[in-house]
């Protein structure tokens, strides 16, 4: 009888660990990866965490804005977002709700707004390392390492004028959709790696991410896909909003 109880307890514990922790999120297991930038450590350890399956949509963001007026396009402070904030929403976006709310990823949002959204959802923005680690996973059912590079190259090589809904490009082996190929994503510490705007000065090798020192800094100078992503982040500031930049949220896994 005593034994049975113990077994039951163990079973329930195991079940708890294996539960899909939250709706629309997937568990990214702990691991380590070699970051694109040479620097402090060879490999960076990443703890297990939860990540949104898809990017935050216009519909999701509209709910947030309705509940938090200070983040509406007409009320937001200039400090937190530039003048292009949510500029793709119709002028009377609340009256035009059917146009505003859709399943396309929300863009034209600043880092501050993205951060506030995640907090409101009781989540947070993923760290750069978490995002990069999760993005390394190959597309579902793929064993070909080149496939991710291909997705990126065709993304960069085509004028992406048509808008797409979330969950349309590819799903990776963790079950996460569209890490590449839809829109760029904010990460919590987007500017932690790239603080300088030019990097051909030798003394700035540690921080630079362009031109000559970009290639001196990269762990793999042939990894153009990563170069582009890192230089993109390097061009951003927290209040910037652009037409091809959205986000998704992450969540730490609570210790039991």
């Amino acid at each position: 009888m005593q034994n049975f109880k113990v077994i039951l307890l163990i079973c329930s514990l195991l079940a708890g660990l294996n539960l899909p922790a939250q709706e629309n999120m997937k568990r990214i297991p702990a691991g380590s990866y070699k970051p694109f930038i040479k620097g402090l450590t060879e490999n960076v350890a990443v703890e297990a965490f939860l990540l949104d399956t898809v990017q935050v949509t216009n519909q999701d963001f509209l709910e947030f804005v309705k509940a938090n007026e200070q983040w509406s396009p007409d009320k937001i402070k200039a400090l937190f977002a530039d003048s292009a904030y949510l500029i793709h929403w119709p002028e009377k976006y609340l009256q035009n709700e059917s146009k505003t709310a859709n399943q396309e990823p929300v863009v034209n949002v600043s880092w501050f707004a993205a951060n506030a959204y995640c907090k409101w959802k009781n989540k947070r923005l993923p760290s750069l390392h978490e995002w990069e680690f999760a993005a390394l996973a190959l597309p579902k059912n793929s064993l070909d390492n080149n496939e991710l590079t291909q997705i990126n190259h065709s993304w960069y090589s085509r004028k992406n004028s048509t808008r797409q809904t979330v969950g349309s490009v590819y799903q990776n082996q963790y079950g996460i959709w569209d890490m590449f190929g839809l829109v760029w994503e904010w990460v919590y510490d987007f500017n932690s790696v790239v603080s300088s705007n030019d990097s051909r000065n030798k003394e700035e090798i540690a921080s630079g991410f362009f031109c000559g020192s970009a290639s001196l800094n990269a762990s793999d100078a042939s990894d153009y896909v990563s170069f582009i992503r890192y230089s993109y982040r390097g061009s951003l500031k927290g209040n910037y909003t652009t037409r091809k930049l959205g986000f998704r949220c992450a969540k730490s896994i609570e210790e039991n």
Binding site: W155, R200, F210, A214, S222, Y224, I228, Y232, G234, T242
Partner: protein, 481 residues
Amino acid sequence: MKTKNFLNIIFIILLVSIISCNQKSERTIVDPEEEVKGVVHAELTDAPLVPPRIPNKSNTKVIVNLEIIEKEMRLADGVDYTFWTFGGSVPGKFIRVRQGDLVEFHLHNHPDNLLPHNIDLHAVTGPGGGAEASLIAPGKSAQFSFRALNQGLYVYHCATAPVGMHIANGMYGLILVEPLEGLPPVDHEFYVMQSEFYTSGKYGDRGHQDFDMQKAFDERPDYVVMNGSVGANTGENAMMVQVGETVRLFLGNGGPNLVSSFHAIGEIFDKVYVEGGTLINHDVQTTLIPAGGSAIVEFKCEVPGTLHLVDHSIFRAFNKGAIAQIKVVGNENHQVFTGLEKEEVYLPEGTAIQKISKKTEPSDAVMIELSHEERMEAGEKLYKQNCLACHMDHGKGIPGTFPPLVNSDFLQARADKGIGIILEGLQGEITVNGEKYNNIMPAVSLSDDQVASILTYIHNNFDNGGGLVKAADVKAWREQK
């Protein structure tokens, strides 16, 4: 006597060194403290055009607005590519300022763009040539100013990581810093820039082509082009000048990898500003333009005709697209060039001997008659060996140069079914399907049997009413003559 010679030599050496010193002292040094008067907005042009000189007498503040646009455009006929551009075309806009001018530069990254960009102008004295000051996310603008201290023709390009990819996708152009009083006047100035493209498909593969990173690493471009696409300035888009006029070309090489051996077929450069600087060389056939470098060449067009501007690494020109054209129109000058005095076709490989005479001899060969099917099969092979080079595989010829064989009213109107054209050749003006042609087709030395096969093929395959031409018909034609 010997001493006298020696003194003479010394004297010459001294003279030469004085002259070269004088040349050196012509370089003007700009004092950045010197006052700048007035403001102008720079006029920017797309290749092959060059903006006019800024006329102001003293140094001026020049405002430059340049917009970065990522857009899909034609790379060759039937081939599209997503170019990253300075100003909406490749190469980027031509910028013209004077030595000592203060340039206020505004760089705009269009909000629809996917990527961050910046600009490194080789004309800038300052960190990164402006790159540091100008990295901008899509939907942002950056502003910086610089004093044009050095004269010369300079390349500008994007310097955002990965730099090679930004350049390979079209992000380069030229900025001219000319002397305050301007370069000596010429009749025409043009802007020509060479560069390479690395595409997922081979040269000529249809449809949209992606950037191929591996080919770029290996420095094996599929396209080498003048002014951004195959044929950008050839045919009806060629640059036009008159006989007797002088031309100055502002030449650049965007790379990203290759060095250009720039040559104008049919012209000698009277003057070359070596590498776009102040050193002037004369009487040059081919000048080297480094990747990320430039040259200015000048020449006078003495005779009419078409000049082909090429990279004389010649496979790039004739097989990868590196050709632009200048059409020189006006009267012949036979003192300079006589034009064609005599023409014979010399094709030792693969084809029958061709003559440009009207003589043809009856053959004594044994007559062979083949079935329609056999004639078609033999005719196709013979057509490819003898006719395809001009009339093309599809039989449509080349408009204006080689007449079409497809549904040809000219051919169908001939009682001899075309036998005489092959055996005698054809010369002078003819009208085919409403279009005039004036060219020479040499007589082709083929047997009766071969002529019959070729003509059967042409009449059936190219929609000329079909039918069978027999060897006997050809023999009869010869005997009649």
